[in-house]
């Protein structure tokens, strides 16, 4: 009886598995439903979930809706998830992505494109020309490997070094002109901060293993050191080089001497005055401006390049049209409206984030005259480097981070080995579909 029962159980299990696999075989691909590029009608858009962008987004939508009652736009925050990219990726798969997402990460674009979730903007009348006219030559960084734009470069948060003037003073460092230009200067200042007890850490970048963390430690300094070179160029990794080694060794010294902690701070180390510096974009002004007397300098380079020669990571967020959209004609019109000179000005005014348009400072002279604290970031915005738009982008960054963690943060392997191993793997991944 027991044997019979066991046989039945096994048979039932395999039957269920077979049914599942059969059903699985039936799923999958079908005909693409890209929608008409010229279709007009109501659309839905998703906004980022920070209060400033929501306020801008709602005002922009209200303005559009007032003028276009037959093409109403409904806006909502991106649904909650571990990351926006996961939510968008899931919505592409489910077929319920909105028409526009005003928070599309450039690193996720190759994946969304591979999923069949994005509309090539070149297909719209004057699409590519509009993007290039607004952003200039910097727009080329956002082209996909097939030469098309699947995203419009929207806004950047060029990463710089924000420092706390009071902490610098307490450490015996000139708060108006802290020596932070070269690696040696940065290290010396950091040692003063920590040894004086002015702050627990000189700087506290997240020492965690998420794929995007290199954008806030290695990549800005690498962009500066190389004069604006991307991680991958022409399908090959660029960072197994003298510049890559210099950046890695700089951070390795910061970690090994305890100037940058190896454990994540669970709140905001800069706001809590646990760290003297932070590596952030202009959004930080609105966040820290009231409570902290701050100053800002470009990220350091080994030779101390002048500020006007320094590149950094853009930390851009872009806008894309998703294939689930039925009224793509309206989506394109709204996209152009939202990135017009007027709306970009309002975005700048309300969020402090830098629209990715050429001649930013001269387009909005009044704003920068009234808000001189943003001028440095605006100047830096003209020299930014984006993540490479290559296939397997996230996998490339993840394996880079893993090797970096091992060699630089925890000192388990040599920097040279880590760079070599990671570069080989990155080149291999970039060459895969």
């Amino acid at each position: 009886m027991g044997m019979l029962m066991r046989s039945r159980t096994i048979a039932a299990t395999f039957t269920a598995l077979a049914l599942g696999m059969t059903a699985a075989c039936g799923g999958g691909s079908g005909g693409a439903s890209t929608g008409a590029l010229t279709a007009k009608g109501p659309i839905q858009v998703w906004l980022s979930n920070n209060p400033e962008e929501i306020a801008w987004g709602k005002a922009m939508v209200a303005s559009w809706n007032a003028a276009n009652p037959n093409e109403l736009v409904t806006a909502q925050e991106i649904p909650a998830g571990k990351t926006s990219e996961e939510v968008i990726g899931a919505s592409i798969t489910a077929g319920n992505a909105p028409c526009l997402v005003f928070n599309t990460s450039p690193a996720a674009v190759p994946q969304f494109q591979k999923q069949g979730g994005l509309v090539a903007l070149d297909g719209f009348d004057g699409g590519a020309a509009y993007i290039q006219a607004r952003t200039g030559t910097a727009a080329d960084q956002y082209k996909s490997t097939d030469g098309k734009f699947y995203q419009i470069p929207w806004k950047s948060n060029p990463v710089m070094i924000l420092y706390n003037k009071d902490v610098m003073t307490a450490a015996g460092v000139d708060p108006e002109n802290p020596p932070l230009a070269t690696y040696d200067q940065f290290l010396a200042t950091s040692r003063k901060v920590v040894s004086s007890g002015a702050a627990q850490a000189a700087i506290w970048p997240a020492p965690t293993s998420e794929f995007f963390q290199p954008w806030f430690d290695f990549y800005p300094l690498y962009a500066a050191e190389t004069g604006g070179t991307q991680l991958i160029k022409d399908g090959k990794a660029t960072f197994n080089s003298d510049a890559g080694a210099k950046v890695d060794n700089f951070w390795a010294t910061m970690y090994s001497e305890g100037l940058a902690p190896k454990e994540k701070y669970s709140a905001d180390s800069f706001a809590d005055k646990k760290a003297a510096m932070a590596i952030v974009g202009p959004w930080a002004i609105a966040v820290y401006g009231k409570d902290i007397k701050w100053g800002v300098v470009p990220v350091p380079t080994s030779t101390g390049k002048s500020a006007d020669q320094i590149y950094t990571f853009s930390d851009a967020k872009n806008i894309a049209v998703y294939t689930a959209c039925k009224n793509q004609g309206t989506a394109w019109s709204v996209l152009k409206f939202a990135t017009s000179t007027e709306q970009d000005g309002k975005l700048l005014e309300m969020t402090g984030q830098m629209p990715l348009r050429k001649d930013l400072a001269t387009t909005y002279p009044d704003y920068f005259a009234q808000h001189p604290e943003y001028k440095t970031f605006a100047d830096q915005a003209s020299r930014t480097v984006e993540v490479p738009n290559v296939s397997n982008s996230v996998a490339i960054w993840q394996q880079f981070r893993d090797e970096y963690s091992s060699a630089v943060i925890f000192g388990k392997t040599s920097v040279a080995d880590a760079l070599s191993k990671s570069a080989d793997k990155a080149t291999q991944l970039a060459g895969q579909p």
Binding site: A16, L17, G20, M21, G30, T93, N392
Partner: protein, 310 residues
């Protein structure tokens, strides 16, 4: 005569009733009651498992409905990719380390505490509830407490003073996984104590009385009566603790910030999340999942063979 009738019965084709009985059993109403759960199992377990196995043998990625994508059969390629990936191998070793600490600790502590709770008279409900609270509390909230305890500037290091480990607990390659194992043991303990408490009600008090008359002490009674008396539940606890441990994700994700330090606390499920969700390679993630299911099944079978030999 009887022989003739039997011959006739054997030759006659089975009636509709007997065929229905053969198909539906003697109590077809039972199927009606079991039906909803069978549908639940088929939809939420069998189908996803079958789909995962299918995906693991194909080049697969999540695509928009209607997108024209090629998903060719690739045989064991995904399994080769997984088995040659040092990060995946490391994650399996990590979870092995976790299970070696977590599972025996869970069984021993749960049984000892359940036995102790079974004998206390006062505050029994309070104590039972106390042990159960961590189990029903969200991991995210508990992780915050453990971060307060075990971070560099946490309470444990303050108490230990110069004896505090360097690097600190959660960024120490040798200590991160043991800390996670302790956390999970503590969190899950209440549930397993309840299982043992239920089992202890089935152990006859007369056995303890007889052992006492024969001069057995508490330890001897525990080892000779309690432990064998709850053996079926011990098998269940071992299997459940192993399954729970093999699915380790939240703690490496939150407590050690993404499997750190330097991958010392990554788990197979965490790597599945990275490969499948973040990096868009669900085929590779599915292969990891299938291997994990097979490993857990094998471990469970070994438990049963060893513990249920009688």
């Amino acid at each position: 005569m009887a022989t003739d009738l039997e011959t006739v019965d054997a030759a006659r084709p089975p009636s509709l009733r007997s065929r229905l009985t053969a198909l539906l059993g003697r109590q077809p109403l039972g199927l009606l009651f079991a039906g909803p759960y069978m549908v639940f199992l088929a939809a939420l377990f069998a189908y996803p498992l079958g789909l995962a196995v299918w995906i693991s043998f194909h080049r697969y990625f999540f695509a928009a409905p209607g997108a024209q994508v090629d998903r060719p059969f690739v045989g064991l390629t995904n399994y080769q990719t997984v088995l040659s990936d040092p990060a995946v191998r490391k994650s399996f070793l990590n979870v092995g380390e976790f299970l070696v600490i977590n599972v025996p600790l869970t069984v021993v502590l749960a049984l000892v505490l359940a036995t102790a709770l079974n004998s206390v008279v006062h505050l029994r409900s309070f104590l039972r509830t106390s042990y159960y609270i961590p189990y029903v509390t969200a991991s995210v909230a508990l992780v915050a407490v453990w971060l307060f305890l075990f971070s560099q500037d946490g309470m444990v290091n303050h108490l230990l003073g110069p004896a505090a480990p360097k690097p600190s607990w959660l960024v120490n390659s040798g200590l991160a996984m043991p800390v996670i194992a302790l956390f999970v043991t503590w969190k899950q303990l209440g549930f397993f104590i309840l299982l043992y408490l239920a089992a202890l009600q089935g152990v006859s008090k007369e056995l303890y009385e007889a052992a006492s008359i024969d001069g057995a002490g508490r330890v001897r009674s525990f080892l000779s009566i309690t432990v064998p008396g709850v053996r079926p539940v011990t098998t269940l606890v071992l299997i459940l603790a192993t399954i729970t441990g093999a699915n380790l994700f939240t703690e490496p994700y939150l407590l050690t910030n993404g499997g750190g330090p330097d991958g010392a606390s990554t788990s197979p499920v965490f790597v599945m999340y990275q490969r499948g969700i973040e990096q868009g390679n669900p085929d590779v993630a599915a292969a990891i999942g299938v291997i994990l299911v097979v490993v857990v099944l094998l471990i469970s079978l070994i438990y049963r063979r060893v513990l249920e030999r009688d």
